[in-house]
Amino acid sequence: MAIFNAYVKKMAEYVEGMRGKGRQVREFDCPGDPGKLLEELPVRVGPEASSGIILRGDTFVELGNPDVGSCAFLLWTDNPSLVGDGKITLIGPNIQESEGASLPFGQVLMVRGAGLGKEEHSALEQNQYIADQIEGYMLKSTSERMWGRVSKDAATKGFDFDTLGKALMAIFKTAVPKVQAMEAIFVTSDKEDVRHLDNIAEQVRKISKDITRETWLARGYDILECTLGWDCNTCSDKPVCDEIREVITVRKKKIRKTKTSSNQ
């Protein structure tokens, strides 16, 4: 499915744009097989690999504090020409270079798989939030934001963005078997660079919401317009909703007309 293809292309442009701005861009390649990905890692990955929390005093580096900026989203496609496998791109400083710092954090995950569709969307979205699955890496439980910590212990063991990318690839490929290939882009260079990602993220979130709505509709629930969870065709309030929609249409037309005439 091509829903996110345009945004995958935008990400390629974004990375080139960052190179053009003179940002430090590093690329790491890694194996595609989840088993091999895990073999190379300095920390444990998988359910209950960590307690899920890192205390303030044990923190080596903080990522995505709201003061310095955070943005994360996920794109999926079935087009092999758009997403390769095992490529990790880091724009900005790495973990080891940032002891005691609070870095801005952008994370864009791009996954590909034949037959990957809207049915997998929710699982893919949820897998971004790793909970207790990576030793020495914590994502705070706050909605709408990717805000993390890397522990001193993990940093000593060699945890860096290469590790994080590989760990995420292993988690995704294990949890959603349809994922055949995956790329990760991490941005830690600058608040503005992360904010620039928000322009893409905003569009992606809108599409994501539409997919979520469609998925729930298929299960019999309309999560956006009706909290009753009933089928419109059997709902006694249908005439009321129909009338409201008509009023909204009339009102929108009126607003458009007013705007058009005031612009003339």
């Binding site: 307690s51 929390i53 205390l55 709201p66 439980s141 909605s143 729930w216 909290t227 969870g229």
Partner: protein, 434 residues
């Protein structure tokens, strides 16, 4: 002339103040327990609020009635006393006259199908048991009951000449809605200025919000600690106290910041020492609503003692908050709009789209290693009752047991604590928990 003779509407308020002073004395006896030091400070904050309202009435100073989700930092910045119209039901675990009040509300003709928190609040206004404010800020959301309370207040003979304002809430949570609600909050602040004579100094508001941000950041830190196994705290301390400090009694004050610092310190120590509220934590619960304030002591200790079931997270402890950007006036209002309309507990879930019910469950279950989700099914939360199907399906997707109880969070006669204990026990047994 005694204050109470001149202002009979304060009779209950003064009794309540005395009750909380008594509770404070009782809590002081356990002061060597670190958590009890926090409870005492919470009661101090509460009593300070009572004192400020009584002082305002006695000395003819302005004060407002409002709600937690109407930017309480504004009143702190304006140095204006405020109280929550719906306060007493939320304090129900501590007040001894709750059931009598519920009966009195029913005798007054208020339908017992109406949310008990709304019903009680209507009763307190109609029975002249709420302080008469200089101006009143009301709510048109998140549920149908809130505007009903607003209508009653508007028509009450003692209240109807009090200037009133209610922000108009948009349905969606997009940028357009955010800008719209930010404007509503601006209008609200202007209304308070006009009707109380207090002035809103933007520099003072900025300072207040920076304290508020610190409080919320520390609250977030605390919440992360509750992800630990065992959770450093259960139902006894957590959401209700955090909520009351950040949203009601100490919104944007240095005292509030200190309170949260202490809370985080205590919880960190518990995490390091592997200490939790029970000797062996067996079940980690997500209670997706308010605590059952009317019978909290008859039920929640039992969950911990009988089943080792710890309430790791609940609706009011959940942390979806965004820090408010204080770099410009524009951002301040947008930040206030977001926090108060999109993030505030219950408003977040009950107003607007049902998506938040599903998303909050999915994230909390995963992050907090939840073993079971409890939708208490409070008789007043009809908005949530309509989304039970969505919650149940979400839990099925996550393979986490879900139970819908059916109770009244304030009236223990609706479903008795024994009935609820029985339901919970059957649920735990059937799911192989505990």
């Amino acid at each position: 002339m005694a204050l109470i003779d001149k202002h009979p509407e304060l009779a209950r308020y003064i009794t309540e103040q005395g009750w909380f002073e008594f509770l404070r004395e009782q809590t002081l006896a356990m002061i060597e327990i670190p958590e009890m030091q926090l409870q005492v400070k919470t009661l101090d904050s509460l009593l300070k609020m009572y004192g400020r309202i009584l002082d305002a009435v006695e000395n003819d100073k302005p004060f407002v009635s409002s709600y937690y989700c109407l930017a309480p930092e504004l009143y702190t910045a304006m140095d204006l006393p405020y109280y929550m119209v719906m306060q007493t039901p939320f304090l129900a675990s501590s007040v001894p006259y709750l059931l009598t009040d519920i009966d009195a509300a029913e005798e007054m003709g208020l339908g017992n199908d109406l949310c008990t928190a709304i019903r009680l609040s209507i009763y307190y206004v109609e029975a002249n048991l709420s302080p008469l404010p200089t101006c009143a800020l009301n709510l048109l959301y998140p549920c149908d009951g809130a505007p009903l309370l607003h209508e009653v207040i508007k028509r009450n003979e003692r209240w109807r000449n009090i200037p009133m304002f209610a922000c108009d809430p948009p349905y969606y949570s997009d940028e357009r809605s955010l800008d719209y609600f930010a404007d509503e909050m601006r209008k609200m602040a202007k209304f308070v200025e006009t009707n109380t004579g207090a002035k809103l100094d933007m520099d003072k508001l900025k300072e207040t919000l920076e304290y508020s941000n610190q409080m919320f950041q520390l609250w977030d830190e605390y919440n992360q600690l509750r992800r630990n196994v065992p959770s450093p705290h259960g139902w006894g301390i957590g959401a209700p106290q955090c909520f009351s400090q950040a949203w009601v009694y100490e919104a944007g004050t240095p005292q509030g910041v200190e309170w949260f610092k202490k809370l985080v310190e205590i919880a960190e120590l518990n995490v390091k020492n592997g200490v939790g509220p029970v000797p062996e934590e067996k079940i980690r619960l997500f209670w997706f609503d308010l605590l059952p304030f009317g019978w909290v002591f008859e039920f929640l200790p039992w969950l911990e003692e009988e089943w080792g079931a710890v309430m790791v997270m609940d609706m009011f402890g959940n942390f979806p908050y965004t820090m408010i950007d204080t770099s410009s006036e524009e951002e301040i209002w947008r930040g206030l709009a977001k926090r108060n309309l999109f993030d505030a507990p219950m408003v977040r879930q009950a107003r607007g789209v049902a998506d938040n019910f599903a998303n909050d469950i999915a994230r909390i279950v995963k992050d907090f290693k939840i073993d079971a989700v409890v939708w208490p099914g409070h008789m007043g939360h009809k908005d949530g009752a309509a989304t039970v199907g969505i919650m149940r399906e979400t839990c099925r997707d996550l393979s986490v047991p879900f139970v819908h109880l059916g109770l009244d969070l304030f009236d223990k006669r609706y479903s008795t604590p024994d009935q609820i204990k029985d339901k919970m026990s059957q649920f735990f047994r059937a799911m192989g928990l505990g």
